[in-house]
Symmetry: C2
Subunit: 431 residues, 2 copies
Amino acid sequence: MNSIISPTEEFTIMVETVCRQARESAYTLAAASEQQLNRVLRTLATRLEAATTEIIQQNKLDIATAEQLGQSKAFIDRLTLTPARVEAMAQGVLEIAALRSRTGKILEERTLENGVLLRKVAVPLGVIGIIYESRPNVTVDAAALSLKSGNAVVLKGGSESLHSNRFLVGLIQEALTEAGLPTATVGFINSTERAATLHLLKQDKYLDVLIPRGGYELVRAVVENSAIPVLYHAEGGVRIYVDPSADLAVAQQVAFNAKTSRPSTCNTLDTLVLHRAIAADFLVAALPELRAAGVRIRADETAIRLLTPELALQVEQAEEEDWGTEYLDLILSVKIVDSFEEALDFIRHYSKRHTEGLIATDQTVIDTFVRMIDAAALMINCSPRLHDGGIFGLGAEMGISTGKLHARGPVGLDELATYKWVALGKGQIRK
Amino acid sequence: MNSIISPTEEFTIMVETVCRQARESAYTLAAASEQQLNRVLRTLATRLEAATTEIIQQNKLDIATAEQLGQSKAFIDRLTLTPARVEAMAQGVLEIAALRSRTGKILEERTLENGVLLRKVAVPLGVIGIIYESRPNVTVDAAALSLKSGNAVVLKGGSESLHSNRFLVGLIQEALTEAGLPTATVGFINSTERAATLHLLKQDKYLDVLIPRGGYELVRAVVENSAIPVLYHAEGGVRIYVDPSADLAVAQQVAFNAKTSRPSTCNTLDTLVLHRAIAADFLVAALPELRAAGVRIRADETAIRLLTPELALQVEQAEEEDWGTEYLDLILSVKIVDSFEEALDFIRHYSKRHTEGLIATDQTVIDTFVRMIDAAALMINCSPRLHDGGIFGLGAEMGISTGKLHARGPVGLDELATYKWVALGKGQIRK
């Protein structure tokens, strides 16, 4: 997406039309009841199940193309829909329907000195643009979350899943029609041209926010070229500091879970920061289990000197670049520090401000860590892998935001809302 | 700011250094107590008063340059500091010190199914960049609001007030030193070169948010060139719909106040949208007062036909472009509609989503208006001029945001905060 292609007139018109009609639909949505929106979602769940065979037929066309293009097994796995996966999509839609939407909630209320009753009321954002790659279930998830939160949405999926996405959008639009809502409420950019994507990034007149869901390159391209505010996930990666006051059994259990439970995720442990006082004990206890799970260890010189000769042989020496790397793989770096202050300096220097962990029982250490470390989530004496909208009890999520404005961490229904101020007076004027 | 000048190395280094040091200071600020921050503000207020003579001396240098450049009287008035204005600045700083900061407040708290105690805690944004024009009091206001909310700040004022700003920042930095905080907490771009400004827009590594304060051209240039999220005020402008159920005395009083109390502001009335049923009565009652206050009236044909011949002579015919114009002047357009639905359509078509008004007593009309019209503030039976952070009881404000993400309407202390999730566990892991 580095070379800016001038969009052809055809794409221009199509993209603008889809976005403008979604904006019009957002106005219709404002008049819709939550029951009506839930009806769309329940109808959609039923239609997904009923159309399982056709969905899989369409999906096979995408898989055939991917195979012709020689895509990897992992790529094709992400792309593939099975009866079980369609069933899971339908279940997900029903779970979203059961969530509580924030729309219309009075967030604050007060009577001003002049007698005006002032309310801060939660309202939908308006129109959400979603640009995503590969997994066709995002089509259904993202549409369901947008609808539940009262937003219209414009979807732009990847070329690899065009047939699947197009068919799924058709089902969504049928469910909208059945509930008396315009099909344009869930708009679809039926094109895989880059020009269409680039033109979508300029529709700030119609779209209120863009959410890119995919690899870092996609996200960067959207952020750099968008005229629309973007909610996005940049880099992830996690450090856990183990304090001398730590329960070492907890530290070992959390570190193992944080590194091995799903190494390709953004809330996976990258670097263990160990206080020298407990480093030897901890490493001797924890390393064999990690090594047995296939984890490669990259430790600093101090750590290696603390190990038994046998263990030392199983460890590589860390380089400077290890400390800033999000591995997304079964690799773990180990850094020894002489003090809590050194740990804080190390963490804030290398933190991506996504998730940082602490194992300690000393309350002063916990309080200081919570105060001084700036990240979307701080996980104290528990696994950083728990940083997740579902586990946080926020319901389904659109992703994790690494920005600080509007949404930090999980982006769920509440984060797909904004607010308006409503002032109710009796003729008050400004003096 | 349309031609991108390659920044010279000197500016590059200076801008980056100021921003990097501000980021470092934000870490020191995290350890500072609210008392310590209040001490800075109280010291600053004292120093401002004590240095009144020197401030005015420095300000005279800026005024002399402005006069040499043949700037307008209004421009020079905005630039000018008097003993009363310095006193007002000092008072403003004390008022900000007396506000309640959100830092550290627990916004949500719950125990998850797995026993983890999860908290959503308000924290400062980090480092705020502020780009502003002319009025030197912004230097003091913006720095005080940033400090009170626990943020470091980088200030970039206009060339016209360089001497004043530089001296005021000196006083702020003295107050920081006296309270034991680094001077870099309030950074200052001591340059009036565009290259410096453009380079500032690229410091996303160090700045968390940019707030441009000034004319629409400045704001647009910042939004278009910034790699940093921007909180900003785009267009303003106001419509008020007068329903048949309206108390016409309230309508007349609010319309007069909304148009005449300070016509150059963004919450000033532009277009009266009158239901045909009350249009003649309202206009006959309201127009003479508005005309006497020097307001030019631009009405549609229907309105003109409803007027007495004498009144009709005092009214110009509105053109299509009137309906979308933010006049910022003593001009008022009048549109007649046949129904509430037509009024809603008209308003949403021309709304800038800043402030919209309604005069009505019919509760169904009020509820429908509140639900269907999307703007930062809806002013029902009161003047749109009341859309203001101070009047809303939010304390001093950094401006009004017309965006929907993060902050909508007044940007006060609460909006200069973000949050982090803090999970407190006892060894919980992800299954």
